[in-house]
Structures are given as structure tokens and as C-alpha cells.
């Protein structure tokens, strides 16, 4: 009976250990599942059900239970798998280009479009009527005479 009680106590402590290790988790599995890629299927963890993805999820859960921050967990995974494990490139160094280039592209495209539209609208402004006809007075007089015969 004593042995059984001891075994139950040890099992309870073992199960309770990880949960009680961190009373206030500093990140969540749901958040990190969207930030970390599954290395074999090239989707984020929340989109994957592969064995490799499940392994990483289990590992992340263990780290969360140890009160690790999201940044620390990500750093550990990068050290293990390389930068490709991150769903988004880091906000530093050369990787910043990946963030700024699309923005620069969109802004540049919008600016070009605006300039194009502005110039196009200027070119299509109505011109003076006299200049539009392009006929001298004599021709206009004769044309009026011809037209008056049909009225």
C-alpha cells in the first residue's frame, strides 16, 4: 500500500511539475504556431499535421511551460533549424530588405500611377472651339451656305 501511494505521488508530481513550473506563461502555442514553419511541408505549424510539425509543437509547449518567451523559443528553433524555420524574416540586418522592398515597390507603383493619371487628364482637357474646327472663314461660310440648303 505504501509503495502504491508513493508511486501515485511520484506520478502526480511528474504530471503536475511542468504545469506548475510556469504560473504565467509568457507566450502561447497558438501564437507561435503562426510564426513557425513546418520544415518538411513549408507551411506554418497551424496549417500542418505532419510528424515534424507535431514534434516542434510538443517542444514549444514544453518551453512555454518553462516560462520561455516567444523570442527565446524562436531563437532556439533558429539555432536548430536555421532562419527558414521562421514564417517571417527577422526585422534586422539584410532581412529588413524583405520588409521594405515590397513597401517601396507599392509606393513607387502608386507614385508612377498618380503621375501617369495626372498627365493623361491634362492632355485630354477640352481645347478652344475655334482651334478645334481648323477651317478658315471662307470655308466655314460656304459650309454654312450648303447646310442651309438642306434645312
Amino acid at each position: 500500500v505504501i509503495l502504491r501511494l508513493a508511486a501515485v505521488l511520484v506520478a502526480a508530481l511528474a504530471l503536475a511539475g511542468p504545469a506548475s513550473a510556469c504560473a504565467h506563461p509568457r507566450t502561447s502555442l497558438t501564437y507561435l504556431e503562426g510564426q513557425i514553419m513546418c520544415p518538411t511541408c513549408h507551411t506554418t505549424l497551424d496549417q500542418s499535421d505532419s510528424a515534424a510539425a507535431r514534434q516542434i509543437e510538443t517542444h514549444i509547449s514544453q518551453r512555454i511551460a518553462q516560462c520561455w518567451t516567444a523570442q527565446r523559443i524562436e531563437s532556439e528553433l533558429v539555432a536548430n533549424y536555421g532562419k527558414g524555420i521562421l514564417a517571417a524574416p527577422p526585422h534586422s540586418g539584410f532581412d529588413l530588405l524583405a520588409w521594405w522592398l515590397p513597401i517601396a515597390g507599392v509606393l513607387g507603383g502608386a507614385a508612377l500611377l498618380a503621375v501617369g493619371v495626372w498627365r493623361w487628364s491634362r492632355r485630354r482637357e477640352p481645347e478652344p472651339e475655334s482651334a478645334a474646327s481648323g477651317l478658315d472663314e471662307e470655308t466655314e461660310r460656304r459650309l454654312d451656305e450648303l447646310l442651309s440648303r438642306f434645312e
Binding site: 510528424a51 515534424a52 516542434i56 536548430n80 533549424y81 536555421g82 527558414g84 508612377l112 503621375v115
Partner: protein, 178 residues
């Protein structure tokens, strides 16, 4: 839109198209394929999983090499592990080197796997999967048998325990060990 601005815009558009085409060509020419039988196996240097230091394939030149790609999360790798260990103990005295390459895996889990299956041959880790990619590995386990000259003698794209592969693996081993 007239004059220099029009020309600039046209050049910009051409540059964009040329850039995209160059990217497409680069991607197509740099796609990684599995080395064929008879081809020289891609060179690599990887960190040891079972201790400090690195191991390069070049350092094994002159010895037949069995290159096994695996991961701790891979279910067929579990049944394959004892067979690999058994073949390693059988062939090591004949100069054959067995090398396990663990890819896309957590180092801690991989070490646990090695300990649990009592694997004693050289273990390397390829966390990023870069080397594994150069061998065209799409799934694990996969095994390459390399000759003393570093050429591919056999490529088994599946567990060596599979009925279609076990005979081919043993035949390739016997061939390179002579």
C-alpha cells in the same frame, strides 16, 4: 506621358520583366535533384550529433560509405534503425563506414533516438536540411551506398527494411565492401 519620363518608365518595366525572367531561370537551373547512380555524391561537411566537431564526406574518400538520412519523428526510421546497426556491425571490419544524417529535427530528440536504439555509427545533424536537399531527399528514411571513389552505387528512397529495398541494399553493400 512624353519624353524622358516615358522612356524611363519603359526602361523600368523592361528591367522588372528581365529581373523576373532571370529569377525564373535561376530557380530552374538551381533545382536540386537526387544524384544518379554512377554520379559523384555531393560534398558536404556537417556537425556531429554524437559529439563535438564536424565530419566531411571528403574525409571518408577511399572507404565505402552508407549514407542514411533519417529523423526522430520519422516512424519507418524506428524499424530501420536496428537493421542499420546490425549491418554496420557486420561490415565495419571490412572498412565500410555508416553515416547517419539527421535532418529537420530537434537535436535533443535526435540524441534521444540514437540512445534509445543504441546506434553506434557516426551521426551528423543537418537541421536546416541544406545538405539533405542536395541529395534530393523528399522523405525519410532514404539511403545512399557510395563506392570508395565517392560515387553513388545505390539509392534507396525508402526504408531498407522494405521488401523491395532490402535485397538491393545488401547487394550494394556486398559490392562496395569487396
Amino acid at each position: 506621358v512624353t519624353g524622358p519620363l516615358k522612356l524611363t518608365l519603359q526602361l523600368l518595366a523592361l528591367a522588372c520583366v528581365a529581373g523576373l525572367l532571370a529569377l525564373l531561370v535561376w530557380k530552374l537551373t538551381h533545382q536540386q535533384h537526387a544524384p544518379r547512380v554512377g554520379a559523384v555524391a555531393p560534398a558536404f561537411t556537417l556537425r556531429r550529433l554524437d559529439g563535438p566537431g564536424d565530419v566531411s564526406l571528403a574525409s571518408l574518400r577511399g572507404k565505402p560509405v552508407v549514407l542514411n538520412f533519417w529523423a526522430s519523428w520519422c516512424v519507418p526510421c524506428k524499424s530501420e534503425a536496428p537493421v542499420l546497426e546490425r549491418e554496420w556491425t557486420r561490415y565495419r571490419d571490412r572498412g565500410v563506414v555508416f553515416v547517419g544524417v539527421d535532418f529537420h529535427d530537434l537535436s535533443s530528440d535526435a540524441r534521444h533516438f540514437v540512445a534509445a536504439h543504441r546506434l553506434t555509427f557516426t551521426m551528423l545533424e543537418d537541421g536546416s536540411g541544406q545538405v539533405t536537399g542536395s541529395y534530393g531527399i523528399s522523405q525519410v528514411p532514404e539511403t545512399y551506398v557510395l563506392s570508395r571513389a565517392g560515387r553513388v552505387v545505390a539509392h534507396l528512397a525508402g526504408p531498407i527494411t522494405a521488401s523491395g529495398f532490402s535485397g538491393e541494399f545488401r547487394a550494394a553493400l556486398a559490392r562496395v565492401a569487396t
